[in-house]
């Protein structure tokens, strides 16, 4: 009986030692890969940052209105954001390679599925970012056009455009990562339809005089505005 127990312990000890002997070198390799990855990622981050600074990406970002969006979201500058993104993408790649060296099947499967989702998440973020820039640009253009044409409530007009574009972009981004496609489609249709109907009712009932003025202004050219009498040049 005693011998059996001792044997079992010995067996367990041997197993543990063997497993440890097998695992530790792999773990060490993983750590080395991750460390090399960090080094490579840091180097790439600084190289990319330098290139982006030379290319004056922050100036382009300012012009496009992206910097303002980033500031609003409490994010760093475009150059910093892109160089950090490069760092994390490269380092995560190395971490995943390192983890795969461990040979843990279930962990590997999880990582594989996460890797499979990463491009979609990246594309979704890209859609969101570009979409928000477009929303910002078009709403500002609408605001300026409205103000300069002397339309009443140009801000409402501009914010509506921003909201509709944002709604459209968010639904596209969510669809990209495959989150509840049908729910999003239905929700989008409902919100968009309700918005348009609300606007139609508001404009038709509440603003019929305004609608008449706008239509007259655009389609009846029998009267010149007072400002037209003054030539700026």
């Amino acid at each position: 009986m005693k011998d059996m127990i001792v044997h079992a312990f010995q067996q367990a000890h041997e197993n543990f030692t063997r497993m440890l002997a097998e695992f530790l070198p792999r773990f060490l390799v993983m750590l080395i890969i991750i460390a090399i990855g960090a080094l490579v990622a840091y180097t790439l981050k600084y190289v990319v940052r330098a290139i982006l600074r030379i290319a004056k990406v922050d100036k382009v970002s300012d012009q496009a209105g992206a910097s303002r969006l980033l500031r609003k979201a409490d994010l760093p500058t475009m150059t910093e954001l892109m160089s950090r993104a490069i760092f994390w993408v490269v380092w995560l790649g190395f971490i995943m390679i390192g983890v795969s060296v461990l040979g843990i099947v279930s962990l590997q499967q999880q990582i594989t599925s996460l890797i499979g989702l990463l491009p979609q998440i990246f594309v979704a973020f890209l859609i969101l970012f570009v979409g928000m820039l477009a929303a910002n640009f078009f709403s500002r253009a609408a605001l300026l056009a409205g103000v300069n044409a002397g339309l009443p409530s140009p801000k409402v007009f501009s914010e509506t455009i921003r909201f509709v574009i944002a709604l459209f972009i968010i639904s596209m981004a969510l669809e990209q990562i495959g989150l509840g496609k049908e729910t999003i489609l239905v929700a989008f249709s409902l919100v968009f339809g309700a918005l348009m109907m609300g606007l139609a009712i508001a404009f038709g009932l509440g603003g019929r005089h305004l609608a008449r003025r706008i239509l007259e202004k655009h389609f009846v050219h029998n009267e010149k505005g007072s400002e037209d009498e003054l030539s700026p040049l």
Binding site: Q63, A64, L144, S226, D228, L230, P232, L233
Partner: protein, 423 residues
Amino acid sequence: MSEESFLSDDFLRQLISVGDVDLLVGISSHNGQGKVGQFVPAVEEGLLRNFRRERIALVHVDAGSKNETEGPVLTESAMGKQGGIESLRTLRWITTNSETAASPDSILRTMLTAADLLHAKACAVIAPSAEGAIPARVESLLLPIYRENYDFVAPLYARQKYDALLTRNLLYPICRTLYGKPLRELRAAEFGFSGRLATHCLARGEWQNDGWRGGAEMWMAITAISNSFRCAQTYLGEKSRAASNAGVVEAIRRTVGGLFWCLESTESFWLRGAAAEPLHTVGPEHQLTNKALRVERKKLFQLYRSGVADLSQILATILDADTRAELVRLAALEESAFRLSNSLWVRMIYEFAAAYHHSVINRDHLVQAFVPIYRGRVCSFLAEHRSADSDEMEADLENICREFENQKDFFLERWKMKGQGAS
């Protein structure tokens, strides 16, 4: 030369058949059949009266008219005989029409190319809407170039005292301050130029971009000034009001956007400090008329007030906090008490120009954000000068120019700052 490629084969054929000329007059038209028809004999008369011994080409560019503009131009022309005067050499008409609506920039480029290919010594562009003594206009624009070797001749006009407020409040003072030349009409539809200047302008790469957007004439004037071409200005009489009734928003987009773009492209000239020089002027430098105009100041003020409120976020990226605060304070006043001072106006222009240079937001949006402020300035100007006579208006113009000069250092500092937005 590369400019040939954008000309039609037919137009090139006509140019080749003409050969070299001494003088060239360019006229553009767009759906203006009757007007151009009446206009053509007067242009010919002006040419034949003074230049019978010269070889002359008249270039008519139709900007994609839907009606038949080209035909009447040719038939109305007596081909070298007007008012009993006959050309001793050649007087040839060349016409081209674009299938799509051509921009004013491409029309000017076509005329410059024609001048270059025909080796014209002196050229003039005449606005088809010009009224009054057209023969005298042709003569006034061509003579200083042909006989006195000037390279650019800008027009001077008699104006209604409230007209050309953008020219009076911005273009003239900034040209005088930064380029050292008191050119009254920086952006004119009629002007004269030498073949040398045409060749110089064509050789530059600026035609490929859309930075000036409809302001090619202004760019040409600034190019002449900043490249030491000999410039002059000549009085042409009263300016046709119909010619300048473009919408204010579009006029500002083209003029202010074009001006800021030109400032950027010629910064190497004015940043080193151009010495102020008088400009050779033929005829009176300024004449104002008092024709009655219907202007609703209240509406202008309302547009200023709502613009400043609605565009507060955009203005925050362009203007300094102090300037913005002052605009907001003024917007809260009653219309009768509202005055937008010269110093605030000039400071704002300089801040807008620097913000354009540093591209703090999309440049076209930035220029559009200027419209409500211009309206405020117009409103204030109308109230201030209600009973001003010609001399008082001129004295006020001097004050505006002085203010531009006083704040020049502020502008230079602001312009040179790297990555500068509004504080």
